[in-house]
């Protein structure tokens, strides 16, 4: 409250004598943001009424109301739960595995220069390469079932987590490490007491990236190498011109991504509460 009171005159002064912020000025960003989204939806909804669309093109067109209706039907009839469950299990197993592998490996790479030098070419190569390129190979190895999907999600989510953990460990306070070591701590104690708590914000940021990559992995794996799941549902729907189902699937995926990301953000706030503000905003 008091911070804003101090802030306002300074901003106003820099704006070459603009009037002080009133209610509209404060609400403007939100109003404009929400307004543009609402405007887009309205234009989209009214588009077929205003512009004549050829019969052929109509096959490819849908409206927000149709999408919401389809979404409602999918949930009300329960048809969505099975594919959603298949997709979610691939997502959860892959992401879980990547967390289990990336955190210890990231700490080791951050602490040991030799290990880092040895692994660096592989990490660079696999991080730069779109994971999708391995999918045909993985389908060959693991079949069309759950596991080729899990591996794609795993590879996708692994590298952001690994790289962020590594960066966090590298940025741990050297003085603290030396203090702990002076008091006789072993490498394990250093990791537990200094390095991991210090790199927590990096790890959580990596987790946010990893979730996005994992969702992407689920989508592409199900498009090309799967028999069941939301992605499969979407491909089949687009093949039979049920455009509203495709968009409904997209919304479900986006919603999962959004929910997971905000959960991680809450976790971030909880885990970094003890930390002074300026450190957590790296």
């Amino acid at each position: 409250m008091s911070e804003q009171a101090i802030d306002a005159p300074i901003v106003a002064a820099e704006d070459t004598g603009a009037p002080p912020k009133n209610l509209w000025r404060q609400l403007e960003p939100t109003m404009l943001g929400v307004g543009s989204i609402v405007a887009m939806l309205v234009v989209w909804e009214l588009f077929p009424h205003l512009v004549p669309i050829r019969e052929g093109t109509k096959l490819f067109f849908t409206t927000p109301s149709a999408i919401v209706g389809t979404l409602w039907n999918l949930f009300a009839s329960g048809a969505i739960w099975r594919p959603l469950g298949v997709s979610a299990s691939g997502f959860a197993i892959g992401l879980g595995l990547s967390i289990v592998v990336a955190l210890p490996l990231g700490v080791i790479l951050g602490r040991s220069k030799s290990a880092n030098a040895l692994f660096d070419p592989f990490i660079t190569a696999f991080n730069a390469t779109p994971r999708l390129v391995f999918l045909p190979l993985l389908v060959l190895w693991f079949g069309l079932g759950l596991w080729s999907k899990v591996v794609i999600v795993f590879i996708g989510a692994l590298f952001p987590l690994l790289i962020n953990t590594y960066e966090g460990v590298r940025n741990a306070d050297k003085v603290l490490i030396n203090v702990v070591r002076s008091f006789g701590a072993k490498e394990w104690d250093i990791a537990r007491l200094v390095v991991v708590p210090n790199s927590m914000p990096y790890i959580v940021a990596g987790l946010r990236l990893a979730i996005g990559r994992a969702i992407l992995g689920v989508v592409v794996a199900e498009f090309f190498g799967s028999e069941d799941g939301l992605g499969v549902m979407m491909v089949r729907a687009s093949g039979s011109y049920q455009v509203d189902v495709v968009f409904a699937g997209l919304i479900v995926f986006a919603a999962i991504s959004l929910v997971m990301t905000s959960l991680v953000r809450m976790l971030e706030v909880r885990l970094t509460r003890w930390r002074p503000q300026h450190v957590s905003e790296f």
Partner: protein
């Protein structure tokens, strides 16, 4: 305490005192190259002891033979050329559209307020999911693929260009104006040097997404191209050539990404570390 620096200087000293600077300086790339060589050697050697099932696995010697075959017959160049066309069209369109939208969003505060949430929604949703629709609508030719690539790679440009414009130092603008600089000086000396690093950084992110676009487009529906070649060799159980194509894609991806990283460091050294 000097604990932190002790191990690194101690290890080369064991080897030879005269070569210490060389080993010290190139320790990381040397170890990295060693790891890659060892990896391939181990991969090759392990099939001396266990039987190789050529239906599911391959070894480096066979992969390089397959690669050689693809190069000699010209198949590889043809596929790469086919894939490159929509890649460049989509990517270059993304550069122009993305930078233009981004600059307007960064320059005009109200436009920024209005478009930021909308763009974030698009950026956060897995747009790859629209690929089947795009393919059905625009067909399997260049245009469908180029549109997928454009959709995937435009958003990093939008966000980074906007961030770059917002980060232009007002003080520098005022200094140039006070010292009698023209509008051209303003752009050449302040605005472009400030925005360009952000755009190049955006390009580095966008390249990866564009490559995903190429593969998605070609896995879905294509009759040629590098992504199609990988899928085709997989279906034919021609594992050697499949691995060869995967390696080619990996090398291209690394060259493009690291190339942009290098360009960032070389052209904008003052930005390194941000």
């Amino acid at each position: 305490m000097t604990d932190q620096t002790l191990p690194t200087t101690a290890v080369p000293a064991d080897d030879a005192v005269t070569r210490e600077p060389f080993l010290d300086r190139y320790r990381k790339p040397l170890l990295g190259a060693l790891a890659v060589v060892l990896f391939f050697a181990f991969w090759q050697a392990i099939y001396l002891f266990i039987p190789l099932n050529t239906l599911f696995m391959s070894k480096p010697s066979l992969i390089f033979l397959g690669l050689w075959d693809l190069i000699v017959t010209g198949e590889l160049w043809h596929d790469l050329a086919v894939s490159a066309q929509p890649f460049f069209i989509g990517f270059i369109a993304a550069v122009f559209v993305g930078v233009a939208i981004g600059i307007v969003m960064g320059w005009r505060q109200r436009v920024g307020y209005a478009l930021d949430p909308l763009m974030t929604v698009f950026y956060a949703s897995p747009l790859v999911a629209l690929a089947p629709l795009v393919v059905v609508f625009f067909g399997v030719g260049i245009s469908g693929k180029a549109i997928i690539i454009f959709l995937l790679s435009v958003f990093p440009f939008i966000f980074n260009a906007a961030a770059g414009v917002r980060a232009v130092d007002r003080l520098l603008i005022n200094v140039v104006r006070s010292l009698g600089g023209t509008e051209k000086d303003l752009y050449v000396k302040v605005i472009i040097p400030s925005v360009l690093p952000y755009i190049v950084a955006g390009a580095r992110i966008a390249i990866g997404r564009a490559l995903v676009g190429v593969l998605v487009g070609e896995f879905f529906a294509a009759s040629e191209g590098i992504g199609y070649a990988i899928a085709k060799f997989g279906d034919l159980f021609a594992i050697d050539k499949m691995f060869a194509c995967i390696l080619v894609v990996m090398v291209i991806a690394v060259i493009l990404t690291e190339g942009f990283r290098w360009a960032e460091r070389a052209a904008f050294p003052w930005r390194v570390g941000q």
